[in-house]
Structure formats: C-alpha cells, structure tokens
Symmetry: C2
Subunit: 408 residues, 2 copies
C-alpha cells in the first residue's frame, strides 16, 4: 500500500502528451495548442475608424476651420485611394479604412450636415479634435509573423476570435484521450432493468462515463462484465483499444475477483495496487506498452460508487489532463471547518462536504454521510474535505484542505 | 441609452424556461431537471457486506466462541436464503447480501481458515466483533419513493450515479436553447480567406459560436451577411428558426446599417437599443412573439470583437441560462487592484484583466490593453475589471468588482 502522492507520481511517470492533430476552428476550444500560432496579417490591416463620423486633418481644426466639403463617403469594406486635401473631410463609418491625409475622426453626434449647391458640407460642433482621435493605427493589435498564442496554451472560446483574425482556419492541437468504462460484478444489472433481490443497478459505469466525457474526445460505456473469465477478457480486450480503460469493481480480495489476472493475460502490467486513501484503498493501476511506449493506461477502481468517484477525481482526471497536454492544476484549496468532525485515524479521508464562500472566506461543512454506498448525500456535496489520517479530531474553525469536484 | 441593470431586467422579463424533454442518462449532465426524481428501489436493496470476510452472530463472539463451521459462501450477485444458525459462520464478499441470522462481518484479514474433515472452519482472530459491524443496512442511503434529486437541480456528472441507482434510465430535463450566429459587414471575409487591403476576417462569428456551444444544445454559424438587404433578410429569416439569434455588426449609426430595419420587417420588435456599457454601447435586443409567447430572442452585438465578447458574457449568457432553466449566478467577485488605473468618466467599463489568487486574496491586474480591436491582449486576460463610470482614478489596493469569463 502506497501513499497518495507516490501513486500520483507513478501515474505521472507513465504519462505522455498524445500526438498532435489538426482540427477546424469550430472544434478546438478546450484543446491544447501543439504549435505556436502566428498571424499572417496586420491587425488592424489599415488605420481604422473607431466611430461613425467625419474624418478631417486635425491641423485644419486647430487652425479654426469648422466647415468642410465632404469629398467621399467610406464604409467598412470600401476604400478611398486618393489623399484627402487640406480643408476637406470624408464621411466615414466604424471599421472603415482611414484615407491618407486624414488623422482624426469626429463622432457624427458632434457634427451637423447640410447640402450646399448639391454638395455635402459638414460643420464641426466638437470642442476639440486631436491628432489620432478615434483612429486605431495599423498593426496596433498584431503584426504579420507575431506569435499570438503559444504552444501549450489551453484554447478558450474567448481565444477563437484572435485565432480567426490571424487566419488559423485549422489549428494543430494535442489529441484528447479516448476512454472506455467497464463495470464488473455478477450483482450488477443495467439501469433500465429492474434489479432482483440480490442485484443492484450499474451506477458506476454511467457516472464514470459522464465524468470522463468532460475531459475526453470519445468515451465508450462498455456496460457490465460479469465474473466470467472469457466474457470479461473479450470486453477488456475491446477496452484496450481506447487510450484509457477504467474498470470498476473486481479489485478487492474476493475469491472471484479475476480482473487483475485477465489484465495480466492481456499484457497489462501492474504499476501499483492499493493506496492509503479512504475511500478507494483497493485502486489498481497498470499500463500496456506498445512498440517503445505506453499505449494503454488501465485503472481498476473499487466497485463502491463513492470510492470510484473519488478515485476518478484524484487519480484518473490528472492522467487524462496530462495525455491532453495540460498540466493538472492543484484542485485543493484551504477552507474553515463549519463543524467538528472526528474519525478513526488511518488513511487520508475524502469526506463529502459542502463548500461555500461567505463574505471573505471559504467555509466547508462535512455532510452527514452514511458511508460509501450513500449516493444521495453525495448529491448534496460539492467537494471533499481531505482529512489528515494522522488526526482523529477536527474542530470548528480549523483550516482544512478541500478538494473541489470540478475538473480542469 | 439605459443602464446595464435595466437592460438585464428587460432581457429577464422576456425569458421563460424552455419545454421539457426526455433524454437518456448519458446525455443529461449539464441539464436542469424538469421533475423530481424518485427512487424505485431501496439502496442498498439488502443488508450488505462492506468487507470481504466472515459473517457471524455477534452474540456468539460475545459468548467466547472463536471457531465456526463455514456453512455457505456468498458472493455479490448470489444469495443464501436460509437462516444462519447459532454457532455457524458464512464466508461473504464485499457487496453481497448478508443472510438472516448474521449481524456482523469480520474482515478476512482478522481470521484464519482451515479444512477439518472436508468442512471449512474459520477461526476469529479479531479483538472484537460488534453488532452491525461491516454491514450496511437495507435502505440506509435511499428508500422506495424517496426524492433523490429535485426539480430545478442542475445535473452534474457526479449525480449520474445516484440517478442510475434510482432507475432513471431517462430523465425529464429542460431543453437547452439553440442559437444561430450571423456576422454582418461588407468588410468581412471568412477565416479561410486571405483578406484584401480593405477587409478583415470574420473573427466574431466563430468566437460567439464557440462561446455559445458551452451553453446551447445546437449552435449554427450562419457565416457572413453582407450589407445587401435581400441576402441579409434571408439569413436573418433562417436565424429566426433558432431560439436565439446573435448578430454582430450593423448596429451602430452608420447609413448602411440595415440590420434593425430587416429585423423589424421580419416581426422582431425592439426591446432596447444602446446600454451604458463600455465596450458594447450600441447593443440591440429584441424579440419575436409567436402565438401567446416569445419564440425568438435576437441580439445585435457591436461588430467590434471585444465589445461582442463583453456583450455575450454580460447579456447573452444570462438569457441562455434562463432558457435552460438555470438561475444565472452572479459572476462578479471583489478583488484588490494590483496597479493604478485611470479612465475618462462615463459608462461602466469592462477592462481586460488578469485575476490571480495570492495567499489569501484575489489580486487583479488591468492589462495594458490597446483598445477594442486588441484581441491579442484579450487572450492574456481571464476576467474584466468593472470600473465604475462615475470615477476617473483607481488606486493600487482598491477593492474593485471583477467579472469572470467562465460561464455557468
């Protein structure tokens, strides 16, 4: 039996970033960039009007001129290739290119317009007109060849705009892992079945699959493997065609727990079995090595629903993040205990709890949890308090580490 | 021009929860429950062994008996229907039903086993054996008919286990909205095209679509509508077949900004135009009413990329959450300014900034942002500081409201 930190290190030691792939811009959010993205354009590509209004030479305004003939009307998507002469103005729309000669745009609200002898004339009512006003200079935001997002960056939806502007119609990103879930146990029936007296529904498979969908590109729920060696071996074989295989059940010391043997038969080597964590002690982890490199990562999680949830968050999620090229963030924060708590000392314990931000601090209340099969209380939890196994008593107001459920 | 709060209220006033639909358990995470979910089973369905070991009568142990004949072997998925007699033991696996007569399970590690005359005999080496030990009583976690998750609850992946256990193979959930994005402007070209001198790529469309995918069930990027009335009307018509239509561009005061007119023609009534927010002032919002109820919500967002991002987060996201049955959370927190900041007083300003948790407080640094077309600096931001329009100077250490980018 090893410590949690040692187990995490052993898992990390087997991990590598998966290969890069090229995805269209509509699909890249949430992926990690596999190469620097550089711009192939200046942005803005021209000196650009930031307001609807009239472009003039600021020195004309400074010289006291207020009435200007309007020599052109420039909208976004059009241009005016001549140089505007002293004493002239152009009408210009937001986003349109500012023509040569013009160095200031006066908002339309600070002007009045008239037609005089068939020609448009604008009168400036603005109090001032400074050089550069309401104009964004070419390449202010980005210039050709500049790196706009670096390798390793997790792409957010907010970044899609800058990628589009830079011309990245497709992006090289790290592939996200694929994952298969297989629940094992003769006592399990599918969620759509009515369990007989000695049966329970398979709750782990659908839950683990749903958790995995938040971090993987493709998740298969392989259903239920009963304790029949041949059928189990066929399902495990199928599961090994995914990057990660998560089994639940069949890892404790029962006589019919044949999962480790089947895995060994199929070339999966054990990395560790049993970790000093509560719940989750019987967790099993192994890998299968292909030509020169690990090509399957396999977890055997305890059949108990809360154990398998805790093990997914603590052990599986960080691996999935590493495979996708992310650095797993520390998901623990410190909070004040809202009530006393006592335990039998031993393993580090993850206790379902409710975390809340109150005024200026995090307050966490360990829930009245009936033990490892109590999924209903778990539904009210949004975190786990991580109780140090060396202590038996924790007091209201103690600072305790809290593990949040959200991924990423 | 109205205040931000007034605009949010006007949007909320038009919102309603969309209809319920029934989805399979694999698809419900992230949806809001449209009805209470009750259990059709007791959990556990029987008194259940929590350890691999030997079941005995604790009163036998209390009476000093340590050696027991093993009368049955019970694994998960099997059962033993006879009552175990005084002086007898059963071997039992984790998850298996505890037979009548037995009231305690001693862990296998605290026993030794032998075969005597062909019959298995177990010797207890445990120091104690208390009534109920290592047994989870029937219905401890949930009982038939009990509500396990209430109407209105946002379903997390962690909840899928309890839903499966309770037999909810499908769940009634509030439908998530569908949304179409249409960028407008003669100056726009698709991301895959090389822009000519007076053109820019459509960065808003792909970005808004990506943001919307985080909150919608189906998002269509309708591409670019040029400033041609007929073509624009056809695209808007198509966009109105979605719950929400988000237009970007074409809402400022330019002469060719024909979007509001086209919308009116198609039966979309204006709710408001212009809000005291920077960036984002020209935002337009309207609805189309079907038989008795609003059936299309339409936003006209400014063409400027940062404005459209801010407007999406501040105005569009809360509507999408309401349509999906969620109560939009307050996404503002308070942080300390990491450097001085000054501005021209006027509208409330959302300034791209970097928020970090340092020791025991949130620290926020307004970024050196070159203005509304500067997407590159925006890529380094993870929040906006909301600067009060009534002030012109903010000092290092001031507490300021911060608007986080993440949805939900």
């Amino acid at each position: 039996m090893i410590e949690i930190e040692a187990a995490l290190q052993l898992i990390a030691d087997t991990a590598r970033q998966l290969a890069a792939e090229s995805l269209p811009l509509s699909d890249v959010a949430g992926h990690v960039l596999a190469a620097d993205i550089t711009s192939d354009v200046d942005s803005p590509p021209f000196d650009k009007a930031m307001m609807d209004g009239f472009g003039v030479r600021s020195e004309d305004f400074a010289a006291g001129i207020r009435q200007f003939p309007v020599v052109a009307q420039i909208t976004a998507g059009t241009s005016f290739d001549e140089t505007v002469q002293p004493g002239e103005a152009v009408q210009i729309m937001t986003g349109a290119p500012v023509p040569s000669g013009i160095d200031a745009v006066v908002m339309v609200e600070q002007t009045s317009q008239a037609i005089s002898g068939g020609d448009a004339v604008v009168t400036m009512e603005a109090a001032r007109c400074l050089p550069g006003q309401n104009i964004l200079k070419r390449a202010t935001a980005m210039s050709v060849g500049e790196t706009i997002l670096p390798t390793g960056r997790v792409i957010r939806s907010e970044d899609i705009g800058v990628l589009a502007e830079a011309g990245a119609a497709t992006c090289p990103v790290i592939r996200k892992p694929t994952l298969a879930v297989l629940a094992t146990g003769d006592e399990l029936v599918d969620v759509s079945s009515r369990p007989a007296a000695n049966q329970i529904r398979n709750s782990n498979g659908p839950m683990l699959a749903s958790l995995a969908r938040e971090l993987c590109s493709n998740v298969a729920d392989l259903g239920i493997g009963v304790d029949d060696r041949e059928q189990l071996a066929a399902l495990v074989q199928r599961g090994l065609s995914y990057d990660v295989l998560v089994l639940s059940g069949g890892v404790s010391a029962g006589t019919r727990d044949m999962v480790p043997a089947v895995l060994q038969e199929l070339g999966v080597e054990q990395v560790f079995h049993k970790v000093k964590i509560k719940p989750g002690k019987p967790i099993w982890f192994g890998t299968r090595t292909g030509p020169g490199t690990v090509n399957s990562w396999v977890f055997g999680l305890p059949g108990n629903p809360v154990s398998s949830m805790v093990c997914f968050h603590v052990f599986v999620a960080p691996l999935l993040l590493r495979l996708a090229g992310c650095d797993p963030q520390q998901r623990q924060l410190s909070a004040q205990l809202a009530r006393d708590h006592s335990q039998r000392p031993g393993r580090t314990t993850y206790w379902p709890s409710r975390l809340e931000w109150t005024d200026d601090q995090w307050l966490v209340e360990p829930l009245d949890w009936k033990g490892s099969a109590d999924l209903k209380t778990l539904a009210a939890a949004n975190c786990f308090v991580v109780f140090d196994g060396a202590r038996d008593t924790f007091r209201t107001g103690d600072a305790v580490p809290v593990f949040c459920m959200d991924n990423g």
